[in-house]
């Protein structure tokens, strides 16, 4: 029970952090899972589940405002339930991922509720603003966080309570091996959705060849990601430095753009 309450508080801290101070990025599964691991007394388990889910989630955190799988709750629930399972770290984290990733996808359906309900709060705030009531505006601002918190706190609390019984053991036994393998593939290919989402809002038609540069650097030259980012930074600066000169001076702007 105490564990369930602590996990619920952690879930609220995580979502508050990303909406406000943004100093721990608790809504990302790596951090949410590690915190949950500390609470259930198995940091390595929380890190393993959080990190695996993090690599699956990379790319979906690309722009604000969109509803995406709730990997925060998925990592916390997955860690809480896996801690009640049996076996070594690998077996336990497989259980955590098998529960956590589908939970994250399913719980995405609750997120819009948390984003919709504060609409009522802002209409009350309109009234307080018209009266010049700053206390009322402040109250509306802070309490509008309640729906955001509840859609994550309630599932976390319920799942954590369920995890303190031995239902996890029977669940663990009932998960077939093919499902665990399938989940492994899902985690490895989910980032493709995130990158596709990001590409959709970028001018790919105009700058498609920039994608090739990054691809060649990694696929053929084996440059690590940080190296690719630094190279990209240099190209971006070079591009922006050369561009006006080519446009103003009229010195073969086409070739300048194509290189």
């Amino acid at each position: 029970m105490l564990t369930a309450i602590l996990l619920t508080i952690w879930a609220i801290i995580c979502i508050f952090d990303i909406l406000g101070p943004t100093v721990i990025m608790g809504f990302r599964p790596l951090i949410a899972g590690t915190g949950a691991g500390i609470i259930v007394g198995d940091v390595n388990l929380g890190m393993a589940i959080g990190a695996t889910m993090e690599l699956a989630a990379l790319g979906v955190y690309t722009y604000g405002g969109a509803t995406i799988p709730d990997f925060q709750t998925g990592a916390i629930i997955g860690t809480a339930l896996a801690a009640a399972g049996t076996g070594d770290l690998g077996a336990k984290s497989a259980v955590g991922l098998t529960i956590g990733i589908p939970a994250a996808v399913l719980l995405a359906s609750l997120d819009p509720i948390g984003r919709f309900l504060p609409t009522f709060w802002i209409h009350r705030a309109d009234g307080y603003a018209a009266e010049g009531n700053s206390g009322g505006v402040t109250l509306m601002h802070w309490t509008a966080f309640i729906p955001w918190a509840l859609v994550r706190a309630v599932p976390t609390f319920l799942a954590a309570l369920a995890g303190s019984t031995d239902s996890v053991k029977s669940l663990q036994d009932s998960i077939p091996a093919w499902f665990t393998d399938g989940m492994g593939l899902v985690g490895a290919i989910l980032p493709a959705v995130g990158f596709a989402m990001l590409l959709k809002i970028m001018p790919v038609g105009r700058y498609w060849y920039m994608l090739l540069i990054g691809f060649v650097l990694f696929a053929y030259l084996k440059v690590p990601l940080l190296g690719i980012a630094l190279f990209g930074l240099a190209v971006a600066f070079l591009f922006e430095t050369l561009r006006p000169r080519a446009a103003v001076g009229g010195m073969a702007p086409r070739s300048g753009e194509a290189t």
């Binding site: 790596l30 722009y63 309900l117 399938g182 593939l185 990054g214 696929a219 980012a229 600066f237």
Partner: protein, 292 residues
Amino acid sequence: METTNAPTARLERRDLLASFWRYFWSFQISWNYERMQALGFAYAMEPVLRKLFPNDADYEAALERHLVFFNTNPVVGAPLIIGSAIAMEEAGAPASAEGVKIALMGPLAGVGDTIIWALYNSIIFTIGAQLALQRNILGPIFVVVMVAVPYTVVRYWQFMWAYGQGRALATSLATGALERITEGATILGLIVIGGFIPSIVRIVTLADYKGTVPVLKPGGGTQDVTNTVAVQTQLDAILPFMLPVLLTAFIYWLLKRYNLNPLWAIVIVFAVGIVLGGLHWFAPALPSPPAS
């Protein structure tokens, strides 16, 4: 357009800090579909507006003015726009404050989402997750340090810089600086995504086909020899990381051509991944070769 009674009160550092900390701690906690960050913006502006408009009617009008739709990147964008809006309200130019909000929120959301959300975060979280998978607690710690320190510095700096720029900000951004920053961020973004796709999306096929070919026997005549050929080896010979590229391109096409909801794309990938992975036709990586 400008009010006839420009504020006489001058803002002090503590007024700016009061606004900054309100933004810092709670900017998006009242985010909603209808007006998104509007209430957070008004809440951050409130202490400054109270100081500038001792007259209740002016104060009420100012609060309502900043309760309109607003949405941008909360880390890169929002502090800059709040700082700028404060400077313009202090200068008695509320119409400019509204103008700067409308003009900058879209472009800065693009810059912030690309540079901070998509690129910077993806890089530090990849490093952090890889350390964490080796049971190294420095993984999550690294991420928290690399978020907490630079984000806070960048947010504070933007806020104070934009306030100091005042009306000059609108002029300097109007000379095309913003378009150049956006374009540079786009170029950097596409290069990094080009590297992300093969390095982070992991899929190989475990399928193979058996080809039977007649081979000449030393003593004459032929003998049928059956070779097992792994499809993945053939694909790698054509283009390394072909499957991650094709998969991402296919999802991109679905999103772009049919305007598919991203959540549906996730559900589809989820279902297809379970089936293909469960059947062992595809896997994240080839199984390690048996020791021989």
